[in-house]
Symmetry: C2
Subunit: 321 residues, 2 copies
């Protein structure tokens, strides 16, 4: 489960249950690639999205086991998008295990992602209100749109902050915000609290993704578990680069004019961005979202869930190398 939840025994227990449900759902005896999908689920990350959903639900009266199943659905949705991302990127490993794509080929990977998507919709329609099931479907659409916009804009480093933030919203903030919203509304939280939770989720998602993008420029490779400058090498334009271009545009544009880039080119571009002070500026932007999220959290009804939420958000958004 990683050590991330060590200080949160209750949440940690609930997440173990989410993981059990996920494993049960990922397995289908008549599905020949069940093993690869199960391994991916078992090797899973921090389960942030289900954790936020469960925390939000504690502001009301969570109904079990429905809320656990919905939390599992949200994470499976995330897993489905990862499987398809790996097909797209041709990635060979994920979370330390070979990708479905590497193990069973493209056909199986495309279909495994579809299968999980469908399962997740089924689960949602069984364990959530029709309104939330619809929101989930809508969300998947928005994620796809955001990813396609990013793909169409690959190697276009001239996009502005606004388009960048729009993609971040689609890629990450929407799903975080939905996790908060679904947890709250399924547990009959008051509308005002539900709205605060939804907003906090949005801001946490924005901050989380911006920090993730910053780490691509300054993380220790060990922590980030991927080489520095990978986004840039793949033509994905993120905030540090956007900021750096405002002062070092000519140099950066000359360097990045002709993809694919040699390793040395990527390294030099990463150095240029770091030297420009853009990484700090991007961190400041992330901090703005973090502060807004914490402010929303402080306005929530004071209870153990709020204290825990504050601690988790703080820990998550202050991560550095």
């Amino acid at each position: 489960m990683t050590d991330f939840w060590n200080e949160h025994p209750e949440l940690s227990n609930d997440l173990a249950e989410v993981r059990r449900v996920m494993a049960e759902i990922a397995r289908r005896d008549d599905f020949p690639a069940s093993d690869a999908v199960s391994d991916l689920v078992a090797g899973g990350g921090k389960l942030l999205r289900p954790a936020f959903l469960l925390l939000a639900s504690r502001f009301g009266k969570p109904k079990r086991p429905d809320i656990t199943r919905l939390a599992a659905a949200i994470e499976l949705l995330h897993t489905a998008t990862l499987i398809h991302d790996d097909v797209i990127d041709g990635a060979l490993t994920r979370r330390g295990v070979p990708t479905v794509h590497a193990r069973h080929g493209e056909t199986v990977a495309v279909l495994s992602g579809d299968l999980l998507l469908a399962r997740c919709f089924r689960l949602a329609s069984e364990s959530a209100s029709p309104a939330n099931a619809r929101l989930l479907a809508r969300l998947v659409e928005d994620i796809c749109v955001a990813e396609v916009r990013q793909d169409f804009g690959a190697y276009d480093f001239s996009i502005g902050r606004r388009e960048y933030l729009r993609r971040v919203a689609g890629k990450t903030a929407l799903l975080f915000s939905l996790a908060f919203h679904a947890g709250a509304s399924e547990s009959k939280v008051t509308p005002r609290t539900a709205e605060r939770l939804r907003r906090a989720g949005w801001d946490i998602g924005m901050a989380f993704q911006i920090i993730d993008d910053v780490l691509d420029f300054e993380g220790c490779e060990e922590t980030v578990r991927k080489p520095l400058g990978r986004d840039l090498a793949e033509g994905v334009c993120t905030l540090p680069l956007i900021v750096a271009r405002s002062t070092r545009g000519a140099e950066l544009d000359a360097l990045l004019a002709k993809p694919p880039y040699a390793e040395e080119t990527v390294r030099r571009a990463v150095d240029l961005v770091r030297d420009s002070g853009a990484v700090e500026a991007a961190r400041t932007e992330a901090a703005r979202y973090t502060e807004r999220a914490l402010k929303e959290i402080d306005r929530l009804p004071p209870n153990s869930a709020r204290a825990e939420l504050r601690a988790v958000a703080g820990k998550l958004l202050l991560r550095a190398c």
Copy 2:
């Protein structure tokens, strides 16, 4: 729309409306590949699945525009699977237009399929009962399982009739049967009639797919719009081959021992299967399903929908070169 519906003006009108809804749904202004998806939708085939859904609904009291939207959702689901199939097969054209994959690359094709899947679930959750929305999700799972089983079994020509029929069920009969069931149950058809319609749909789907598989051995290439023996070349084992192996096993196995096959090898295998009488045997199997379907249809309440359904099923299942 193709001439298929010429003799059914009412259905033809309804399908034009389905097509309009589909076009509206396929288009999303912020989705850069909207054009390619729309073209695929516009170039669409016979719209068999929505047609059956609408015909089934006429045994009760169809509620518009919900039933039209649900019919569109069923076809979009089919379209989503086609887009992903084209990624998997690396196909360059579909229905005479370049595939999404050929036009915009793999990333966009994978994500476009996901987007349509999600839209289809959203549409279903808006315009169908929760039970039918769940069935639709379940169905997508089953389709994926069937396809993956087929992929895992590629170039294994030793499968039996039973495994073959299981795959046909997952690939085709389930979706046909769901179209009938959804149309009926959303229109408050009596349980007995709904069950008859569901069974008729299943048998029509089975017959339809078996005939499709037969046409891969005997169709004029012009009618089938693909070269003969394509399934076989791709390692997909279908009924004519299974039957032929019972008498010409040694020859066929020797011929097909080492994929990929030269064109000449495929042609010789196709000839062997045809000479063995297996094509007729497979047609007889399809006829068994067709007869069962027509028998179910004849037991339905006598009305204009029944007459039309009988005519459509007959025409569809008697197609030959």
